[in-house]
Amino acid sequence: MSYVTKSPWIIHYDGSSCNGCDIEVLACLTPIYDLERFGIINTGNPKHADIFLVTGSVNEQNVNVVKQIYEQMPEPKAVVAVGICAASGGIFKECYNVMGGIDTVIPVDVYVPGCAARPEAIIDGVVKGIGVLAEKRAAMDKKPAIMDKKPAATVQTEDNEEA
């Protein structure tokens, strides 16, 4: 069993969400829910994080940010989309500036439903994410050389839509 399962550090990024899921993510860290029981720390720094919690959907402006945070996380990493906005754009799906769920930009491993997602659901989601992490870690052992093949630096500069 990999140690990743015992100490999954998270990073939380608020896409274009309504804050509802964000405060529930934060609430998970607080005494009543206390994610630290599982060894989870909210690091706030992608380079330390194992699980990427995204709330809210992607829009024009934050798409590069989401991508960049994802790329800056070292392997193994998992993405948990919290709330239905992150899953599919939710109620804002039809808004002109919403591109859709997080999976339009980066691969999502776990979807946590709810509007806003309940802390219990987030805990469940993160625990599921831990499972994904363990699998990815095992896969890394098998073929350690194969990591992310894309050169990370090039992705965020593209700005085609603006012109």
């Binding site: 590069n64 989401v66 960049q68 800056q72 630096a153």
Partner: protein, 633 residues
């Protein structure tokens, strides 16, 4: 004795030759050849007098003395004229005071005193001779390349390089004179030559700023000169001696020589740019960098502390000793603080120089065996490391076009070799296994043992400040910035020679310092402090330090720059544009990230620190002399 004479006279000959042969090629050859000769001679001197405790030479005759006097009068006239011409009347006044007094003294009292030993060589002067002979000449060597660039950058101005090299070698000659003269009149003569040389070297570019600063240096040093003259007069008139060793011997035998000692120490304080006279050293930074390296780090200011250290047996818990200790302590603390607020590399170096000289002075002022051990160690390490740093800054300035530390961002990418040298230099100034720290450690221990708790506090706080300003510079050097072009191929090869030499010296001296200590310093100290001999550092600790240094040097070699890790862009809150240098900023603009150091102006502002320091140090000086005068009356 011949070799001592050679060391004093040969640079003079070289200087005059340089004034005659004005082509680049000839100059290159002369400078290189004489540098090698001088360095070799100083090493030979060290070897020759290695075993003997100290040697005194009867040398000199009336003609020589008269010649010196004539030159002195000429110098005074020159200063007087320059002062009038540039409306710096204070300089003229000071010159008009000291030289007539000196001439009067020599014609009246001086005649009647027989000076047996005009020259001498002991282990301390050998150390100084080595510093001047090796480091001083290597700075001249470095100047060959540097001054070519300098001329290139200032092509609109006339080529004054012959004059420059003349002054450099003249200066070296005078410095040798200072460290080998036992006759105080001679010492004074060389002392004045260095003062005037520094004036011309500082005002080399002849802009108004440089002339002003040169005058400031001149005036402050002339103050010291007045002190020196008074000391000679007092010694001659009341004690009937003119020989340095006799004076020190009297002091250690219990005869009160505190008045001449304080006057001489005062002269030392001005020359060593201690507060309240530190501003000349800062002003002198306008000069070409080799000048700064030669005059203001490794030699001229060292003449100031040299005389104080020489006097240290008669200092200690007397009023002269307390004066020197206090002034040194104040300078160390406040100059270290002031260095924090500086971003101009040369000014940082200048403040650091003033601070370290303060520490040396404080050690010498304490006047115990262990303290003087620390002082001499500091002199050695400081001379090597500081000239390395000055020269590095000079090279950097010519290649990146700025001497500001903040513009040296990413120097590691642009000039890796230079940056490495600089890192060694910086580390050498304050980090654990390197020399300066060892000396500081010894100094601290000496302070505690001497029971001077105020100094203990000063060194504790001063070192903290030192740590801050060096490390932030070190950080700038170490920063790896993306997309930096390597431009170090433009550097002259002479510059590389010297930088490499000094870097190696910095490391080697630290490695062999237990040897230096036991072979040179301890024997010297045993002669001047015959009674007690408590070592500042246990030999065990010394070897631990050397071993640690070896480790620090070996580690990078082992590491070898290999890394099989994936290199990723830096974290910029998710707004990195991918090149690690810009981020997507407000208004969707691409903003270049800019990382600068802290300067804490409101805490450690230069003006504030200088004001406090000058007032405090001046108060110490004034009250000391007031007490001395009061004692006389």
């Amino acid at each position: 004795m011949t070799i001592v004479l050679f060391l004093i006279l040969f640079p003079l000959i070289a200087a005059l030759t340089l004034l005659v042969f004005k082509t680049d090629a000839a100059r290159d050859i002369i400078v290189k050849a004489s540098s090698i000769l001088i360095a070799a001679a100083s090493i030979y001197l060290a070897v020759q007098y290695f075993d003997s405790k100290e040697e005194y030479f009867e040398f000199g005759n009336v003609t020589l003395s008269t010649l010196m006097m004539v030159i002195e009068i000429c110098l005074a006239i020159i200063i007087f004229y320059l002062g009038i011409k540039n409306k710096k009347y204070l300089a003229s006044v000071l010159a008009a005071i000291q030289t007539p007094v000196m001439v009067w003294f020599e014609l009246n009292i001086g005649h009647s005193i027989t000076v047996v030993n005009n020259l001498y060589a002991d282990r301390f002067s050998i150390i100084m001779g080595l510093i001047i002979g090796v480091i001083g000449t290597s700075i001249c060597w470095y100047s060959i390349g540097y001054m070519k660039d300098f001329q290139h950058h200032h092509h609109e101005e006339p080529d004054r390089r012959p004059w420059f090299f003349f002054l450099m070698f003249l200066f070296i000659s005078a410095m040798f004179g200072i460290v080998f003269s036992n006759n105080l009149v001679w010492l004074y003569f060389f002392w004045e030559i260095t003062t005037l040389c520094s004036f011309f070297l500082i005002s080399y570019t002849k802009t108004q700023e440089t002339i002003n600063n040169a005058f400031r240096a001149l005036i402050m040093n002339l103050f010291g000169g007045v002190g020196f003259v008074l000391a000679i007069v007092v010694l001659g008139r009341f004690y009937g001696i003119l020989e340095l060793n006799q004076m020190i011997a009297m002091g250690t035998m219990g005869i009160n020589v505190v008045i001449p000692a304080s006057l001489l120490a005062f002269a030392g304080i001005t020359k060593a740019a201690q507060m309240p006279f530190n501003s000349w050293l800062l002003g002198a930074m306008v000069a070409p960098t080799p000048t700064s390296a030669l005059l203001h780090s490794s030699t001229m200011v060292k003449a100031g502390v040299f005389i104080i250290v020489k006097l240290s047996p008669v200092l200690g818990w007397n009023i002269a000793g307390i004066m020197v200790t206090m002034v040194g302590g104040i300078t160390f603390l406040l100059a270290s603080f002031a260095a924090i607020s500086q971003s101009n590399a040369k000014r940082v170096l200048a403040y650091s120089t003033a601070a370290n000289l303060g520490l040396i002075a404080a050690c010498a002022g304490i006047g115990t065996y262990a303290a003087v051990w620390a002082a001499i160690m500091l002199i050695i390490f400081h001379a090597v490391t500081k000239s390395l740093l000055f020269l590095c800054v000079g090279t950097a300035e010519h290649n990146i076009g700025s001497r500001d530390i903040e513009d040296m961002d990413g120097l590691f990418g642009r000039m890796p070799k230079l940056a490495t040298f600089m890192i060694v230099g910086i580390a050498g100034m304050f980090l654990a296994p390197f020399g300066m720290l060892i000396s500081k450690w010894a100094a601290m221990k000496a302070f505690i043992d001497s029971g001077n708790i105020l100094l203990v506090m000063i060194i504790a706080f001063g070192s903290a400040a030192t740590l801050f300003y060096w490390t932030k510079w070190l950080g700038k050097m170490a920063a790896i910035m993306a997309k930096r072009e390597n431009i170090q191929s433009n550097v002259h090869k002479e510059e590389w020679h010297v930088l490499t030499l000094l870097t190696l010296l910095t490391i080697i001296i630290c490695l062999i310092f237990p040897m230096i200590s036991s072979l040179l310093i301890v024997p010297y100290l045993q002669t001047v402090f015959p009674s007690v001999s408590v070592m500042a550092l246990s030999s065990g600790n010394m070897y631990i330090m050397s071993a640690m240094l070896a480790l620090v040097v070996l580690l990078p070699l082992l590491f070898n720059g290999k890394s099989n890790r994936r290199i990723v862009p830096i974290y910029m809150s998710g707004a990195n544009l991918g090149d690690d240098l810009t981020f997507r900023g407000s208004m969707q603009k691409d903003v270049a990230v800019s990382l600068k150091n802290w300067y804490m102006e409101e805490y450690f502002g230069e003006k504030k620190m200088n004001l406090i320091g000058i007032i405090a140090a001046a108060a110490v000086l004034v009250s000391t002399f007031a007490l001395l005068l009061g004692g006389l009356i």
